[in-house]
């Protein structure tokens, strides 16, 4: 259903992809006093995260002080207790992890958009320590990142292709841009793949030393194509409407790579790209409209400059 309306509108999106609109209206009461109505309309994603934001925005509109909600832990309600997970043996857990990943791989292989999206969301769920516990996420992260896993080789390649080239399969490159639906789908899939990689790195690095990281992690993830794609994402922060979120994720992935992998950090330093310029650009964009991006950019810049 379509309808036309004259209005002032802002289309907003949070880091965890809650989409909502902010509208302004003017109204006059009986005494002819001008009043302004600020309305927030949720378009997608969960009500829980949205309500945390609503209070802050409506308070700020009134000029009142507002508390910044902890966006990192917005989905803690799903947390599975460690006690529940410890009921199953470690062997059963690894079997479950492998079978879950195989299902995700099967979904990603299918020639259907909804199946692909479901597969990627499953990976996001499995790699998040808040959802299935640290043990499960570590198991899954190892399977995704480590080298020589023949069972899940194609899954690795699919995630790699999504991050480096933007598509799951080679033959899909021509489909990008042919219609709005497929473009949005590919963008969403790529964003999810980036988040999966970030979560894998976070879990993996917290449980391994720097030397272990390079040995255990597949060379695929440390290649120049990945770092180059991530730098491009950071550059795009200014150009796309919600590009700051992607840039923020890309920056965090790069941060993990530079601090834990000597191979990847070598690629970044030897790279012909003007990394300092890209980082400065990200900081500038962040200072203008994305505080987390600015903070992460400064943190990364200090690490980059110190070497």
């Amino acid at each position: 259903m379509f309808f036309k309306i004259k209005q002032m509108i802002a289309h907003a999106q949070t880091y965890d992809q809650i989409n909502f609109n902010i509208r302004l209206f003017s109204s006059k009461n009986k005494t002819n006093n001008q009043k302004t109505v600020v309305e927030l309309n949720r378009l997608s994603s969960c009500q829980f995260g949205f309500h945390k934001i609503v209070c802050a925005i409506l308070k700020s509109a009134e000029g009142k002080a507002f508390a910044i909600p902890d966006q990192e832990n917005s989905r803690k309600r799903r947390k599975v207790t460690e006690e529940l997970i410890s009921l199953t043996s470690s062997e059963t857990q690894s079997e479950n992890a492998i079978s879950a990943l195989k299902r995700a791989e099967t979904l990603l292989k299918k020639d259907r958009y909804d199946a692909n999206a479901l597969g990627m969301k499953s990976l996001l769920f499995l790699t998040n320590a808040q959802n299935g516990g640290e043990k499960l996420s570590l198991l899954v992260s190892k399977l995704i990142l480590s080298e020589g896993s023949d069972i899940l080789g194609s899954l690795q390649r699919k995630i790699f292709r999504l991050i480096a080239f933007g598509t799951i399969n080679e033959d899909e490159a021509s489909e990008i841009g042919c219609n709005q639906f497929s473009t949005t789908h590919q963008q969403q899939m790529r964003n999810d793949a980036l988040s999966v990689l970030l979560q894998c790195f976070q879990t993996f690095t917290s449980n391994s030393s720097k030397t272990d990281f390079d040995k255990l992690c597949s060379k695929m993830w440390l290649e120049e194509e990945i770092t180059s794609a991530l730098l491009n994402d950071i550059l795009k922060a200014d150009l796309e409407s919600h590009g700051s979120h992607i840039a923020y994720t890309a920056l965090r992935v790069l941060h993990q790579l530079i601090s834990k992998s000597s191979i990847a950090s070598k690629h970044i330093y030897v790279s012909e790209r003007n990394v300092e310029y890209i980082l400065q650009k990200a900081i500038d964009v962040g200072l203008n409209r994305h505080e987390l991006l600015a903070k992460e950019g400064k943190r990364f810049m200090s690490i980059f400059a110190s070497r």
């Binding site: 802002a10 302004l24 109505v37 600020v38 997608s44 925005i57 700020s60 020639d111 841009g177 505080e291």
Partner: protein, 129 residues
């Protein structure tokens, strides 16, 4: 059910000359003149975002007269607030500042009253798990 091989999503053979995609990288000068993109460049367009960049949709620039009146029979969402003491331009500034602090990206439609904004009334089911 959307199938990728469905003809509605795939161009016919005669329509191979699809314009390049607009969601990827475009040419940006990096301070030094050297090629920026790797082999992945071929699948990303160079045109699209230039046009988008011309419009400053990152700032909510409104004047107090621009704000439209509440339409007749428009049912406001419970998530609204009525403010009488602050000017709309100040409200917009406050909201923009808040969005920045919350790290929420926003695209502002700064179209003045007189042009119609059309949008689909859709319901998205994004939660899959």
């Amino acid at each position: 059910m959307f199938h990728k091989n469905n003809n509605t999503f795939r161009p016919d053979k005669g329509e191979e000359s699809i314009p390049p995609p607009d969601f990827r990288f475009c040419q940006i000068k990096e301070g030094i003149n050297r090629p920026m993109f790797s082999s992945s460049e071929k699948m990303y367009g160079k045109k699209g975002l230039k046009a988008k960049r011309q419009h400053d949709y990152h700032h909510w620039s409104i004047t107090d007269e621009d704000v439209p009146s509440l339409p007749f029979m428009y049912f406001l969402q419970p998530t609204h607030v009525i403010i009488s003491t602050i000017k709309p331009s100040t409200i917009a500034f406050n909201i923009e500042n808040c969005l920045k602090r919350l790290s929420i990206t926003a695209e502002f439609d700064n179209e003045r009253v007189g042009t119609s904004f059309t949008y689909p009334k859709i319901v998205l089911f994004q939660k899959l798990i």
